[in-house]
Symmetry: C2
Subunit: 332 residues, 2 copies
């Protein structure tokens, strides 16, 4: 019997229409091959990118030279541009403004062959520090209200460069994902006087049927109403609405659970393409009692995107309790 499930934050309903006997290995994944060729993100080619805005690991030497471990540069083909004013205007009943924003690339390792999921936590943590430090820096620009941080891994998930990287986009407006989550979690808070994410963590760590892994500061869950098989959320165990308030110790614990989570995913479905997106409070909101920062990792496994993003209505062929069992039981 298929099942309809409601996401408790967004109110989004999804259909779990289980295909009998389907196993993770039945998802068809393209082989991941490193093709090589000229790479603008490799050490030695620093002059081919815009000037770096942040670098970790280069103890001495000039900017835009090798020796770094993580390097952040503006996107050479940005979707938004940094110079100018917003110049908000109406056009009859419509609203528009200039496309002011920042679009940056976080190069996660100097080695072209490295994959993010295979980086040791003490290297991976540098990327999480770069996210934090770039958001902190961009928040000083009062034209911006939100910074979207995301990673596309694999061609099917939208990656166009091979070299391991993630991206951020600073925006003058709040994306719908953020306003919908804030609205949904606020209405739960008004009703229950509790954070819905804290309640989810409490229920999941008790029931343990959708708990993938945990450490002292973080948990990884398969959400109750996932859009895709093997969707996972990584959440801080204790209430906190702001990613940029995390200290280096907390980010180290994040890197440890993130590494374990991605290795579990990769062990279940080798080379699976995925997107992850950081969900955190808006730059100007202050701490929020009803909101809880987290990462959402969504593998790209189902192809019926067109209809689904047209209706906000997802069909998922594998229940999260089952994907979670695979993820927990896999040998790392």
């Amino acid at each position: 019997m298929p099942e309809l499930r409601r996401d408790p934050i967004l109110g989004r309903w999804i259909i779990i229409a289980q295909e009998r006997g389907k196993r993770p290995t039945d998802f068809l994944i393209e082989e991941f091959k490193v093709k090589g060729g000229f790479c603008p993100l490799c050490p030695g080619n620093e002059k081919t990118t815009p000037d770096e805005v942040l670098v970790y690991g280069r103890e001495w030497g000039y900017p835009n030279t090798p020796g770094w471990k993580v390097r952040v540069v503006p996107n050479k083909y940005p979707a938004l541009i940094i110079e100018g004013s917003l110049d908000k205007q109406g056009e009859g009943l419509y609203d528009r403004m200039n496309g002011i924003g920042a679009h940056e690339v976080i190069i996660e390792s100097p080695n072209h062959q490295d994959r993010f999921s295979h980086l040791p936590p003490h290297d991976m943590v540098l990327t999480f520090r770069a996210f934090r430090d770039r958001i902190r820096d961009l928040s000083k620009d009062n034209r911006f209200n939100y910074v979207v941080v995301f990673k596309n891994f694999g061609k099917a998930a939208g990656a166009s460069l091979e070299h391991s990287h993630s991206q951020l986009v600073a925006l003058p407006i709040l994306p719908r994902m953020v306003t919908s989550e804030l609205d949904g979690s606020l209405s739960y808070f008004k009703y229950k006087d509790r954070c819905v994410f804290c309640d989810i963590i409490r229920q999941e760590t008790q029931q343990k049927v959708r708990l993938v892994c945990e450490n002292s500061l973080f948990v990884t869950l398969a959400p109750f109403a996932p859009r895709s098989p093997f969707e996972m959320w990584i959440m801080p165990r204790y209430h906190n609405s702001s990613y940029i308030d995390q200290d280096d110790g907390s980010l180290m614990a994040l890197a440890e659970i993130f590494s374990e989570t991605l290795r579990r995913l990769d062990a279940c479905i080798p080379n699976v393409p995925y997107n992850f997106v950081l969900h955190t409070q808006p730059l100007r909101s202050g701490s929020l009692e009803h909101y809880h920062w987290h990462f959402e990792i969504v593998p790209k496994l189902t192809s019926i995107a067109g209809f689904e993003w047209g209706t906000g209505f997802y069909i998922n062929p594998m229940p999260p309790e089952e994907t979670c069992r695979y993820l927990r039981e896999v040998t790392l």
Copy 2:
């Protein structure tokens, strides 16, 4: 300069980041080849589908035999099933119910080679009548609250069968697309005491920069804040919230403008894959002053789906004023 634009109904912001000199022919489209082989939707193979629930054009003869022009059958592999009760339940803070619903396939022509966009309007209209008549019939089942009607054309847009067809899914709940549109258009109505869609039609038919084509009863627009290049909305010129109230004459005018719209699209970008989705009022809402039924046609031209459906934030490389110019000026 890139531009940020806000959809006046949903409040969704999109980025228009124009790639200079990009032309419709620069979008890479797979060749459309009819492969043939056994087709369960072809005449003669009626026994291989579940029993038909509606048929047009068969003047005499038994059910599930050739002679039809349009035929509607339950999906052999349905996402939801028709028998049973909803059995709504909580599980801690979560909500679930049985996956009760209908999932049907509308076979738009008996000829395997036919394409929907190439059907003459007097044949195409049968599909629009089938949509209406099936929604009317399904609305008698009081377990259902909404019927999603959609078409996937081309593999990239999610079509798995070659033979021209569309689909419908009857649901016990309202999909997010519907609740968001209802909420957005209601808050406009509360503020202005006018239907936002009527205001859009008024502005667009005056300005004519995003007007693709029109007839006495319908208009086709490129929306102000499109998710994809060449996105188009087909809307009734006069206020009406309910698709199923349309008479045969009105559906004939719909088929005429739909045919012209798809032929213009196909002339600009031959074989472009697309999805269309019918947006209409919920089954139990009664007529709505603030809502206006319409079709949204979204070509599948950009690949960055993963990030975009994660954030609700779209980057569009071609402004609608430009796509509209191509669509208007093309030779049919």
